[in-house]
Symmetry: D2
Subunit: 377 residues, 4 copies
């Protein structure tokens, strides 16, 4: 099994997401970092790439240079990860897809619904994978929940309740900190703050676990720190195609919550609960029965959960290995092998449609709005 | 300190709430059960009262008989607890208040806003206490949260998030069980199911801890079991008088949640978290700091928390003693002594206004509705 | 059902244990506080008893006065609770038993094994109950564990692991505080500090849940604060009659543990886990299966667990109601009704034998010592 | 920064520990798998190594072949990981050290104390690193505890309490399973079962966090499943050089515990608590204060904790990354850079001395035994 060549755009020195991708891509030996345009400062990017072991001629100054350089090579990279500022994802992902590269795009995939639809069309036309890094979906026990729902183990899903609420932007004195401020400034963040940043992870999770899509929604947004234009707290009620009722709360001012991403799924014959801070367990309750603690690595889990577990039961596996599982599935997909439910451009598009629907609803005092991308209606 | 005489209406043999009231009233030696009309079957009620030690002439067949009998005595009961079916609370509470008795009424205090306003007026005119059994507010650590918020320890409250969601009505096969069915039948339960049953506890808790009142709300109701007319799941967004944003989720189909009543309060300088299944702890996080586990009984708590704790730190105290604390405060109020923040008729009225506002909002697809009783606008 | 008359010795104003007993005895309406010798200061004791509603002629100045007074009455108290300083338990309990009263004695029942044996003999000869307040054994979910073990649901018990470790004596600066110091001073506390204070609760719990008795033990004692003569930390390994291996750790310098009393029981076909800070749950794992969370109040629990639960599932019940359950069982026993497994003088004696065995073992560097009282060998 | 060449002995297809090492070595891009003798079946080992990307001439049939081959190369591997059956560790590690290779040895490093002393001498003479895979010590929050203790943040350590108890060998019906049976058979496992397998992790952890070494111990061993010759449950009391009291419980029949490895450290001015199933938090309690939840990634942690964290606060990091941190430190040590507290041959030796001391003590009914290796007395 030869290694695949991998290229990265963004994720340079000092970035948070870069190391997670490099660990994720390399952990299982599937990918070699063969090319990169890692920094908006060309020289810094070239130097850092070489320090990471990239050959000098593949340590590029920017993504256009990388596109031209790689497209011209026989040993071109098999996969490009796009981890640049949000507003640039669309242009870069589109260009690489059109040139025949597989792409893993950080979220949000695009800033508008129209861009999202274009990515879907381009990926389809090019016959290339455009994956989106909804990495929480690659935790073994999240796959386990999805498998249990799909197998009918909790019956028809009546209700899904999810939240992604933290308190790291709760200090008003810190609101002018540039690392925080941009997220609430429409010039930089677009139409939505916290919902576009964290809420869409929770919304994707709800769809992913339920195996269903959001049809319509009603949103209540709040900017609890007055200087913020965009919302730092949002509640979104929704209905899925199959009738499931949804409740999603997201906040960045929930002081004391560190990484409060969790999901509860309630069906006709059982309930499931999972939390990202304790990702190796699922709490499962059959109707009328006791709550059972399911453990990653226990006997009898679904194929997907077993395939994506790396060490024995009760040896915790964490966030970086969830990212790595996305790369495991990508490697399999690129090689034409069987793989799990990779989040794709269609999911990135649905998120963007939901963001714009939520903004419209919140502006209209909670009016119910169609959350589907036009191309999927 | 002589004991007070106490009478009970409802709460007969086999009822769930009766034993909790008797334990609550007697635990601290404040009250003696001196009279009762405990059952809708007069003979059963009289017999049971006598088995509980009530003198034969004060073991009444119904509440009217008890009202007449007690009103005529010199040693009439000091307090009457009303624990009858919901639709009868109004008539009984009003009659006893008008006759000069103090009353503790089970929730919901009334079925309509108009009735609620009348109870407020009658209690005021009679100069008598009409308390409502929002007993969760009497847990020591709930009083502690209230004291911390009042003292500004978390700054201005930006956001309160509460839920009261269980799964005990999640079995569709059990939906015809009379003990469950009536709650979702408007003929018996009125305009609201789960929100009126459990949601109002959470709404009262939000007001109680924040020291503020709900001004307007937007609701999304769902009947996830199709045979139900009234909602078994509800999400209510609200705003308080002082601008605090509120989120309240209540459900009876959340299979796996046993008694999922909890509250999170987020202010400018800190956050608080409490859950009714672990009622002796509060999780407190100062902004930028670590989460601290506060324990009932620890040194330095507020006067109210200390006053209502009975045993040393980390010896858990549970639900029956929260009910008992309501009686502790009632005894003090009746004796003219200092006491804590007893939930009163005004709170019962506000709950009823919120229930009707939520129903109106849900019917109007989430329109924002004034949640205040007309008399408080 | 007439109320029983109850008398109390010790537990005066300001004591910790007094209120717990009064609440426990009165909560269910079984007992009326009819007599008391509550304080070592006769006048204070008489005054306080009257404030608690005791008639002046039964508000005694000391226990001898009370013994004489009550023995002479037709309506003498049915039960005497002994909550005086440890060294006085023996003399008082013996005297009341000999005079024909039922007794509930605080732990430790006596200071020596010989005294313990005498109490057993006296109680037997008098035909009276001498119960010991191992109140943790009266939690519903502790009774549930005992019932499960007895029914063979976890098979033969191989191993029991228990601890009762807190940190409330961990401040060396506080070591001279008289409320702390006496516990480590042999003049006041006898031969053992922490093991005699808390360890015997854990040892009783192990016997109670397993339905077996300790045969021999090996102890390691430490005085981690040098000024202490008696141990503030102890580890005791033991073997039960039936071969079960036991491990017991107790400490008062475990800073951060508030009330760390827990037990784990491991049998051939399953394991059980319970912790006193979360007393309403038991974690049960069948061999090869998932851990199940058992809840007080759930359907299908043992008769004993159901009988001693007062409110519905997931409404927590705490320490004072465990004490109250001891009084429930006492009332039933006094009335000749069926009741649960009340801890008796035999249990108090076994504790004292274990304390002295542990002290002997610790002095002999962990030698294994017979832990049984001579009269039971 | 060029990559280091890495070789592996053992850890072939289907092994549990192999993937953890490969992920650990490769995750951060420090090491390339350049050589291997992965299987006791030479052909399978060669084939598997090549599938993992090892060049055919460095895919060896056994460790002797690998030693000869690598010793002869200019680009010889920089590090050899020994993950073979326990009884072979000594011979292989010694041979590679003597030939000038750095070695990472799985635990237990040797089977006897004499072998352990020889490894220490050989490593010293060769000037090469012999690390031992006590990987739990490389969790960021374990390093944090060590740093806090070293900085005196909890004062002098009075007491350390640790356990490593699981229930995966609790099924007697499974006792003949060869994967389980060998651990309790002295022919294969040596003098100790569960203590040598898991207990030494806990013992190392105690030393690592306290920055102290075990001086003497007293052990109680039990074979709770009668067919087992070696212990499946053990309690070890110990004293450290500095006087700290230690308590260590290890079991493989604790049904319901999945991976119950935890440690509590109690000092003069505070307490710390950590559990391997929730490895990203430490619970810290200053004496007289509240318990604080410390989070991996929070501001203000020690340099070591910060250096070994990979993703932001509350994004969990798990067991495989603890192993990876061992490799991070190894890479730094090999390159002559600063690194953390790598467990070394001296630690492996101390473990072996403790195992033999515990066996001797258990055979002598808990007699206290010197636990130090002769060369360190």
């Amino acid at each position: 099994m030869t290694k695949l060549n991998w290229g990265m755009i963004g994720g340079g020195e000092g970035s948070q997401i870069g190391p997670a991708h490099r660990l994720g891509a390399q952990a299982d030996g599937n990918f070699t970092l063969a090319a990169g345009a890692l920094d908006f400062d060309p020289e810094r990017g070239r130097a850092y790439a070489q320090r990471l072991g990239v050959a000098p001629d593949r340590a590029y100054g920017d993504w256009r240079e990388m596109l031209a350089g790689e497209a011209a090579r026989d040993d071109r990279v098999d996969l490009v990860t796009v981890a640049t500022p949000n507003a640039t994802h669309f242009e870069i992902a589109r260009a690489f897809l059109q040139a025949g590269f597989h792409v893993l795009c950080e979220k949000p995939m695009t800033m508008t619904v129209e861009e999202g639809e274009e990515i879907v069309r381009v990926a389809k036309a090019a016959g290339r994978i455009c994956a989106v890094n909804y990495c929480y979906s690659a935790y073994p026990m999240v796959r386990q929940m999805r498998a249990m729902v799909a197998a009918g183990e909790i019956g028809k899903v009546r209700l899904v309740v999810t939240s992604f609420s933290h308190g790291h932007h709760g200090d008003a004195g810190d609101a002018d900190n540039p690392r925080v401020r941009w997220r609430y400034d429409p010039k930089m963040a677009g139409v939505s703050g916290q919902f576009a940043d964290c809420g869409i992870h929770a919304l994707h999770m709800a769809s992913f676990v339920c195996g269903d899509e959001v049809r319509e929604l009603s949103a209540d947004f709040a900017s609890t720190i007055p200087s913020r234009v965009l919302e730092d707290d949002a509640m979104v009620n929704f209905r899925m195609q199959g009738g499931t009722v949804g409740r999603l709360w997201t906040s960045s001012v929930a002081i004391g919550r560190q990484h409060g991403f969790d999901i509860q799924v309630f069906g006709e014959t059982g309930g499931l609960r999972w939390a990202s801070e304790q990702p190796n367990q699922v709490f499962y309750t059959p109707v009328g029965g006791r709550t059972q603690i399911m453990e990653k690595g226990e006997a009898g889990l679904s194929d997907e959960a077993a395939r994506l577990s790396r060490v024995a039961i009760a040896h915790p596996e964490g966030f970086p290995l969830a990212v790595a599982n996305i790369y495991v599935d990508l490697a399999a997909a690129i090689r034409g092998e069987q793989h799990g439910a990779l989040p794709r451009a269609e999911d990135g598009l649905r998120s963007m449609a939901a963001v714009h629907a939520a903004v419209a609803s919140a502006r209209d005092r909670g009016a119910w709005v169609d959350a589907r991308p036009p191309m999927f209606r």
